[in-house]
């Protein structure tokens, strides 16, 4: 069942068309990656999904109902972080959550607020003013705010922006817990493609305000050519072997004696055998079929 259905979404700011034609759907239980380069229209689309921005055209349905006609009901079942969570800095973490709890459309007991602060690892800091929080702590408080009313859908727009590596790992683990423990449907927009690759099961890529591709992450990656990163000891010998046996493959020197090979068909075993036999001193072979390559290919078109 589709929990979110976006069809031919458009948004104009005066003469500028920020979103031209974006369509995708998010199924129940999906961790859905929402990708696109800067200026592709991701944030505008997400803001339309959360009724922060009024769309110029298209339809937005949640749980099979129009967002426009059922705004309050829909938003009571959605939790979100848009870019960075902003709070009332002069209030404590607990006070901030109490404020948002009062208007989330459900009755939230004080015990639930404490449980949520525990869940995101902010127990002991609940009485501290948010002005003293680090960016990572604010992000965790943002996730607590998002989950406070036990929403069916969680929308996270660039939740790791500005975080240090430790913070990124913390947020990633929190999202994994949402997926595995709480069985939430998550729409995740991120520039961390490796993260999307690990976490998401479905994704859409948009560019210049239009949907480029949508589908299962592994299926989309399967379709693209397999790349290898090969490091050898004897570079001239390696180049000679490649020229002799695989002249049709695109081989690029990355650095020193490490090469990037774009393969049109999976001939890995045969190629490794030839290299070993040729005596080029094979040191490592790393398969590179990454979302990053796929993303760049899709958005370069």
């Amino acid at each position: 069942m589709s929990l979110i259905e976006v069809q031919h979404l458009q948004k104009n700011f005066g003469a500028f068309q920020a979103v031209k034609d974006v369509s995708f759907h998010v199924n129940e239980g999906d961790v859905f990656g929402f990708l696109g380069p800067n200026g592709a229209g991701k944030s505008t689309t997400i803001r339309c999904l959360l009724s922060l921005i009024r769309p110029s055209g298209g339809t937005l349905n949640f749980f099979g109902k129009s967002l426009n006609e059922n705004r309050s009901e829909v938003l009571s079942r959605v939790g979100c972080i848009i870019e960075k969570p902003d709070f009332y800095k002069y209030l404590s973490a607990q006070r901030n959550l109490e404020i948002f709890a009062r208007i989330c459309g459900k009755d939230i007991a004080p015990r639930q607020i404490q449980e949520m602060l525990d869940f995101v690892g902010l127990n002991g800091r609940e009485k501290d003013k948010v002005s003293g929080f680090s960016h990572g702590m604010k992000q965790r408080l943002g996730i607590a705010q998002t989950l406070l009313h036990n929403p069916d859908i969680v929308i996270l727009d660039e939740p790791t922006t500005g975080l240090d590596p430790q913070g990124i790992i913390e947020v990633r683990n929190l999202i994994l817990r949402l997926r595995d423990e709480q069985k939430k449907t998550v729409l995740l927009s991120s520039h961390q493609l490796s993260e999307i690759e690990i976490i998401a099961n479905r994704m859409v890529i948009i560019n210049q305000g239009k949907t480029i591709v949508e589908g299962e992450v592994h299926e989309l990656l399967e379709k693209q050519s397999l790349n290898l990163e090969v490091t050898v000891e004897n570079a001239p010998k390696f180049e000679e072997t490649m020229q002799q046996h695989y002249p049709h493959l695109i081989t690029r020197l990355l650095y020193k004696s490490t090469y990037h090979i774009e393969m049109l068909e999976d001939v890995r075993l045969e190629m490794i055998q030839r290299m070993v036999e040729s005596g080029c001193g094979l040191k490592s072979v790393i398969p590179k079929r990454s979302l990053e390559d796929f993303f760049i290919k899709m958005t370069e078109k």
Partner: protein, 280 residues
């Protein structure tokens, strides 16, 4: 949801330092006036009554709490709007500047609900400021200077209002003054719906008050047709409560004009905020 968010808004106002700047400044100003009157009030009153002393003889305590309260109200009603705008001009734009508007507008409460709850909170804040002004000017002044009849100098001459006739006049004048301040609060909030920081709405509100006040005092016929409809013309309507005979028609007209301004400005705020794309 509206009541719950109104509680939220009151909580935000109560926990912000800027909310107490107005109350603190008002308290300080009133105590400065009280101190000045205690130190040199007789010569101040003497200056006012000097021109009448050849034809009238004044008996009793002219410099009393009622006169001081009247003087304080006259001096401060002009300045209190700035203190009110300091808080209400920040209500929507402050959320925009801090980014919390995104968090607020993605909750199930409607945009109309957000505006109305902020407006109700602004109304309560304005009412508290008016009450505080009344309490300090009336009760503290009476405690310091005692009571007595009130001498009012107006365009028709000198009017002496008996003490027994003053309680309701002060009460009603505070209500009319509240209506004027409420208009300013709503104006600042309307500007706040158009801005992304709180400086703009506060400056704009004060600019409008200054501009309209100047237009109101200009003796040029071209402005005569608009003067009765400008809210600043009616900001001093509270003073009419101390006239005799009591100008009922004028007071009703002021109440109607100020109420119409409040309704109109609230409507503008609602339309603007409902149509606004939140891109911050």
């Amino acid at each position: 949801m509206l009541l719950k968010n109104t509680y939220n808004e009151l909580l935000k106002i109560a926990t912000k330092i800027r909310s107490y700047i107005g109350i603190g400044a008002l308290t300080l100003l009133i105590f400065i006036v009280l101190f000045a009157m205690k130190a040199d009030g007789k010569s101040y009153v003497g200056f006012v009554t000097a021109s009448f002393e050849q034809t009238l003889s004044f008996n009793g305590k002219i410099l009393n709490g009622n006169l001081i309260a009247f003087i304080i109200m006259q001096m401060l009603i002009v300045h209190v709007p700035l203190l009110i705008a300091l808080v209400t001009g920040d209500l929507l734009s402050g959320e925009e500047a801090s980014g919390t508007i995104r968090m607020l507008a993605t909750k199930p409460i409607s945009r109309t609900g957000i505006v109305l709850s902020k407006w109700i909170a602004a109304t309560i804040y304005t009412f508290i400021m008016t009450l505080w002004l009344g309490f300090l000017s009336l009760f503290v002044a009476k405690w310091m200077f005692g009571t007595g009849d009130l001498i009012v100098l107006n365009s028709n001459g000198l009017l002496i209002l008996p003490e027994a006739d003053l309680a309701w006049r002060f009460g009603a004048s505070l209500l009319v003054a509240f209506l004027a301040l409420w208009t300013v609060a709503t104006l600042a909030m309307a500007f706040s719906a158009f801005a992304k920081n709180s400086v703009g709405p506060i400056v704009s509100t004060m600019s409008v008050i200054i501009l309209f006040t100047i237009i109101g005092t200009l003796d040029v016929s071209v402005f005569d047709s608009i003067k009765p409809f400008m809210f600043t013309t009616h900001m001093a309507a509270w003073r009419s409560l101390f006239d005799d005979p009591f100008p009922t028609g004028e007071i009703i007209e002021s109440v109607v004009i100020l109420t119409a301004h409040i309704a109109g400005l609230l409507l503008i705020t609602l339309v603007r905020f409902n149509k606004k794309d939140i891109t911050s």
